[in-house]
Subunit: 359 residues, 2 copies
């Protein structure tokens, strides 16, 4: 069992009518990945068969299991969360797509909670059709934050080789962004980001940039007061806590000047302020990571892409990066835990002897 020490990565299938299963299968086709981690997809063998047929793949097979204890560590595994046939209508926004996306996600999260997975990678869901009595969240990130009881102490982080971008507010309508930003929230988020840069990315002394909220970072109060009343006071408190956090920067100039290259993470105030420049710089290899959770979770940075879901032309690179990034972060977290363990704690017997000598 040469592979038994490889990390097990759980993968939720997302909306069966989107590009999720397609990019999962495309990523797993390369057998090289089985040398780095063991994939466990949470879905159903019948769904896999449908996609294999549609995609014309004869050589690829999942090891179908009923429970994570049965997986083959040398192969890609499909864990049957359900047994029944699911009506797949590629490119369509259906209730079925939402229902089974949540079944897959919840099964994976259960194994994650029980310590049976090293990390979770989530394929894209449709925020509309997943809404039900068992799921009332705007996306994976706030669902997981709630599921793991972290309050505001988490942060959505976009990760690539070039840069990291994190957000103070996530899937919030623009009209509600301002009222969702407070000194406390900025402190909570930046503290989480700082910790994550240390333990998930092994950066000993992170340097973080904070963008302003308003055009020209408020132009000294003329174009909005949040910089003066909320963001700058928060930065001052963070500095007192020993967190290296500079700003607020005027967002357009910041991105224009590639100022991000000088920082370990850029923190934007709202979704598009961070995601427009991130995706412009790193489309196809960006990964969405949720910092601050007790478990590791990543996802590709694209959506269900219904418009191309029956064409099988989706680029799997972001999913592949999400899988490898999950493995890297899980490894880094284990390393940092080991390294920060108190190796130098004196051996009680030895220190007793020294004390004795002194006497």
């Amino acid at each position: 069992m040469e592979n038994e020490y490889l990390p097990k990565i759980g993968i939720s299938i997302g909306d069966v009518n989107g590009v999720g299963m397609e990019v999962i299968i495309k990523s797993l086709l390369n057998k090289e990945i089985n040398k780095t981690f063991t994939p466990v997809v949470y879905g159903c063998g019948k769904v896999a068969t449908f996609f294999k047929k549609e995609m014309g793949l004869n050589d690829f097979n999942f090891n179908i299991v009923k429970d994570i204890s049965q997986i083959n560590t040398k192969q890609s595994n499909m864990l049957n969360v359900w047994e029944n046939e699911v009506k797949i209508e590629l490119g369509q926004d259906t209730a079925v797509g939402g229902e089974y996306a949540i079944k897959s996600l919840k099964a994976a999260v259960t194994d994650l909670k029980n310590g049976k997975l090293a990390a979770l990678v989530t394929a894209p869901i449709n925020k509309n059709n997943v809404q039900s009595s068992v799921f009332n969240y705007k996306g994976h990130t706030d669902y997981l934050a709630d599921e793991f009881n972290v309050g505001d102490n988490y942060a959505m982080m976009l990760v690539s080789d070039k840069l990291r971008v994190s957000l103070i507010t996530e899937h919030v309508p623009v009209s509600e962004v301002s009222k969702n930003i407070s000194i406390e929230k900025i402190i909570a988020k930046v503290t989480v980001i700082n910790e994550s840069l240390k333990k998930d990315f092994l950066i000993p002394r992170p340097i973080i940039a904070l963008l302003g909220l308003n055009p020209h970072a408020g132009d000294n109060g003329l174009l909005g007061k949040e910089e003066l009343e909320v963001i700058i006071p928060a930065i001052n408190i963070l500095k007192e806590k020993g967190i290296v956090c500079l700003g607020p920067y005027s967002a357009d100039g910041y991105w224009a000047n590639s100022t991000y290259t000088k920082f370990d993470c850029t923190v934007a105030m709202y979704h598009d302020q961070g995601l427009i420049p991130f995706k412009q710089l790193c489309f196809d290899d960006g990964v969405n990571f949720t910092a601050g959770l007790p478990i590791v979770r990543t996802s590709p940075d694209h959506g269900t892409a219904y418009d191309i879901a029956n064409k099988f032309i989706a680029n799997e690179n972001s999913m592949r990066q999400a899988l490898y990034t999950a493995v890297d972060i899980a490894k880094n977290r284990a390393l940092s835990k080991a390294w920060t363990a108190d190796f130098l704690k004196p051996n009680p017997r030895l220190s007793q002897k020294i004390t004795n000598t002194r006497e």
Copy 2:
């Protein structure tokens, strides 16, 4: 007087403590420009002398005049708006910087109104220190819109060789963006943009993209209602008016996929949604143009840049592009006026004859 038919381009000097005069002078150093247009800078010979000395320029001279009737069309001209010495403190935000920026701007606008200039190019002002009893605007754009009585029928447009970006709201705090967007305003702005693409850029049938306001363009109402209640109804009315306008697009995906390459202009809902990606794609050669005014006005897309104002390292490319773009738009506007004149209007005498023949 070989140059007498060249367009006269008025240039306001902006904040004397910023990089404005530096990038103006650097642009005008190249004598080639005098073959294309005649520059008239609105300021004071003493200010020019200060900068020439600080920048170590011995060979460059302005033709100093008191009135635009006295300019030399073969040279760069400095029109003395004032005669007194002005206290220049490079890199400092001073009341003097604001006061003289407005003196320069108002003098140029007067000549513009009187038809003595083909276009106006404005160097950057500081939105804070210009505020006074004679100037209460957030920037050049809304000042000029008010000065030329165009109501909402104008649009800030960022122009480069690669793309054009226009805005529905400009220098508005994020908390007030939503309430500043209405069906009427979108129709007014897009109508202006469409007309401008035709007559200022000579695009016979413009195709315009409209971005959504909220993350993921509101995700069908889940992340904000403005797309469903305001933007889509506005697009439908614009279509009825025969304006080709598509959207609303999810902003992050739109920029990530370079969808802008398929459109003549991308219309963003607010400042950073348009300016972050524009500046990321076109820093140093972007030009700010105000569409919808009866006169032509451009400016560089950077600010006063106080932080480098005493180092003389500012890049003048955006100012140079602003000058040439002003000339191009002034020419295009004259051409489109000529071309759309009713050449085929029948000669009254001739049509009378034809009528007679029929009788």
